[in-house]
Symmetry: C2
Subunit: 419 residues, 2 copies
């Protein structure tokens, strides 16, 4: 059997399982999540054996220590995965909810019922805990999921996917509702991308190259974000001490993530007072500034002149682009030109300008007087997230359980025909 | 300039216009719609000249009378287009609405604001009134639209698109928010399909071949339906006289549309009583039945044995597939196997079976005790529709103004940073 046929059979099994998952009771799905939490605790030895094979192979291939650490399924990591299962079990089940039933003039009652998407295909490069964290959200939403993780975590992912299927079956649900692609053959991903007859949506997570290749090959919808180039605009009249704290939080709390701050825009009227404070607080922590000509002399010894390439760049590091703008128009124009539509925030005390920014900045999260770091499913109240979408179709922003569902029209009639 | 460059420039103009449309006031958008209604009434002569060129070309090419009629922009057709403009102007404007603002433990207020999608690209083969009917919904939702109509209506579409741009400019909005692709070059569509940097969504409408070619080439999301294979399941205990009327309405009211009935499923317990009534009413109107072995002897002289190819087939004609099923399970299995996920209806007096069907039939509209013909934006209360989606991402079912929008997260803070 070639890889195309193998992927087609796997996807067909996923679709058959998705039909059973769609009518699974909330209790059965939660039983499966509870069973999985238990297995993650009682099968630590078997997981450790599989994980050790990945680690040994990675060490032999010369993987660096930081990456090795991310690959390691320690008892602590497994405990946090078990906790995630119990947390997701505790979230409310959206499937079957009927919203906004309204009566038509002919007496038909028309509403929308929440239904699963069907089959979700996750393609990811990250550490093996994504296997469990993603799959449990898909299952809670009544979907089947096809998982394709990174080859360096293949043995670990196979072990975890095995536990997922086992937990499903313990709860009377189809084990094939979770399937890891059982090969590291690179041809598997392009093959999956053409199976729109079986797979309803692709969710790639990883580097821009991986995501772009899925977008170009896929004939089904893709939920994704390429990068997060988050801006913070400090308006005149903003509380400047708070602005330093918010900029510091955005840049320094966790520089390597997509909601980290990458570019600070400062209203000209406050630049001379504000930027030396930024230089002191962030520069003091080793942040390097890529500064426009006007901000450069205000930012101290770690500032360098910005080049055009620094605007719209995702540094993911202790580097911050800084630009002085004449007014709100210029701030919004900069954002429109360089935004990745991920997160844009303003710090202001002026109500009208706050509301204008809220309306006009085009991003999956627009914040007034807060850190860019809040664009996260947990922080925004979704309970958990499977990723962040920066395209507007279906979901814009963090995707939780509800974003892994759809709504169909339901009509309650009394024998009506169309006139 | 080659076609790729030409399409890229056109799409870039659309994106620039979409940014202005996104912040247009409801009044300005409605002014544009009112201006367009006026122009459709006062410029009938100019439209007639353009339309006459299309008609002459089509006649010379030997187009049949029915198709010629659909191509003709009569005063009556233009009046109905003007009426559609005024109707859409009267719909409520969803842009800027903020829903479900909730407080987080840290005091952040988190909600979702409705925003336009950006740039919509419509690719269609139908009559020229689609040009206006689609564009006005896109505009109402604050989008820019790129239109690519059929080559046989090219002159008519150019004239109508010219009026759309003129109406926008009369209202102080960018004329480039509506652009018809100004060439019939077939390479335009594949070129547009790769411009995901500028175009947010493709909406193809037409034959399955056209839609499939867009799905395969497009790197942005596609909203579409391939076909409508609508089933009606007549349960035991259903009101059989009403069932005849509902089947008749589904099949005969307008057989050529996607929500017409294509397959009747009948519970075995009522087949002998019900099917002769169907034979009399529908057979009497010339409906040809493609019948399973059990229903064949009950359906009179216009019945033929069904072949496997008749199940799941979209006849779009006075032809109806008929199958007797043992029970609800068999009805739902038939639907799962042959559904196009468009419309599925049940006629029943049993509450539990009604609710089971509602939950388990997987279609963009599931109806209890009503005709399949109700799966339509107007009938379901959307005000108007740009098409019907049978895939679950973003929209499932008829798409009105709201389905041409998205929601971004908006956060109202008081200086919060993430802990």
């Amino acid at each position: 059997m070639n890889i195309q046929e193998q992927m087609q059979q796997l996807a067909a099994r996923a679709q058959a399982a998705s039909r059973l998952m769609a009518k699974a009771s909330p209790a059965a799905k939660n039983d499966a999540l509870a069973a999985l939490a238990g297995l993650l605790e009682t099968r630590q030895e078997a997981i450790a054996v599989a994980n050790a094979r990945d680690i040994a192979k990675a060490e032999a291939a010369g993987m660096d220590t930081a990456k090795l650490d991310r690959l390691r399924l320690t008892p602590k990591v497994l405990a946090s995965m078990a906790q995630a299962c119990r947390h997701v079990a505790g979230l409310s089940d959206p499937i079957g909810e009927i919203e906004s039933v309204k009566q038509r003039p002919n007496g038909l009652m028309v509403g929308r019922m929440r239904v699963p998407l069907g089959v979700v295909c996750m393609i990811y490069e990250s550490r093996p805990n994504v296997t469990v964290d993603s799959a449990i959200l898909c299952l809670k939403a009544g979907n089947a999921v096809v998982l394709r993780g990174g080859s360096e975590a293949f043995e670990s992912n196979m072990a975890l996917a095995g536990l997922l299927s086992e937990a499903l079956e313990l709860a009377g649900l189809p084990g094939a509702a979770v399937q890891l692609v059982p090969t590291t053959d690179r041809a598997a991903v392009p093959a999956l991308c053409k199976l729109d007859e079986y797979i309803d949506v692709m969710i790639p997570r990883g580097g821009e190259g991986l995501i772009r290749s899925v977008v170009e090959a896929a004939t089904m919808p893709v939920l994704k974000h390429y990068k997060g180039v988050c801006h913070l605009f400090v308006d005149k009249g903003a509380d400047l001490d708070n602005a330093v704290a918010v900029a510091d939080n955005g840049k320094c709390q966790r520089p390597g993530v997509c909601n980290a701050l990458e570019c600070l825009l400062v209203h000209r009227d406050v630049a001379k007072e504000f930027l030396p404070k930024v230089a002191k607080a962030l520069g003091g922590k080793g942040v390097e500034f890529r500064a426009c000509p006007e901000s450069l002399p205000l930012l101290g010894p770690t500032a360098k002149p910005a080049t055009e390439a620094d605007w719209g760049f995702e540094f993911l590091d202790y580097i911050l682009a800084v630009r002085v703008v004449a007014d709100m128009d210029e701030a919004l124009e900069h954002i429109a030109a360089y935004s990745s539509h991920h997160t844009e925030c303003i710090l202001t005390s002026d109500h009208a300008r706050a509301m204008r920014f809220l309306r006009e900045a085009d991003a999956s999260m627009v914040g007034i007087n807060c850190s860019t770091r809040f664009n996260d499913g947990g922080e925004l109240g979704l309970g958990a997230e499977i990723g962040i979408s920066t395209s507007k179709l279906h979901a814009y922003g963090p995707m939780g359980v509800t974003e892994l569902t759809s709504q169909k029209f339901v009509v309650f009639g009394q024998g009506q025909v169309r006139g």
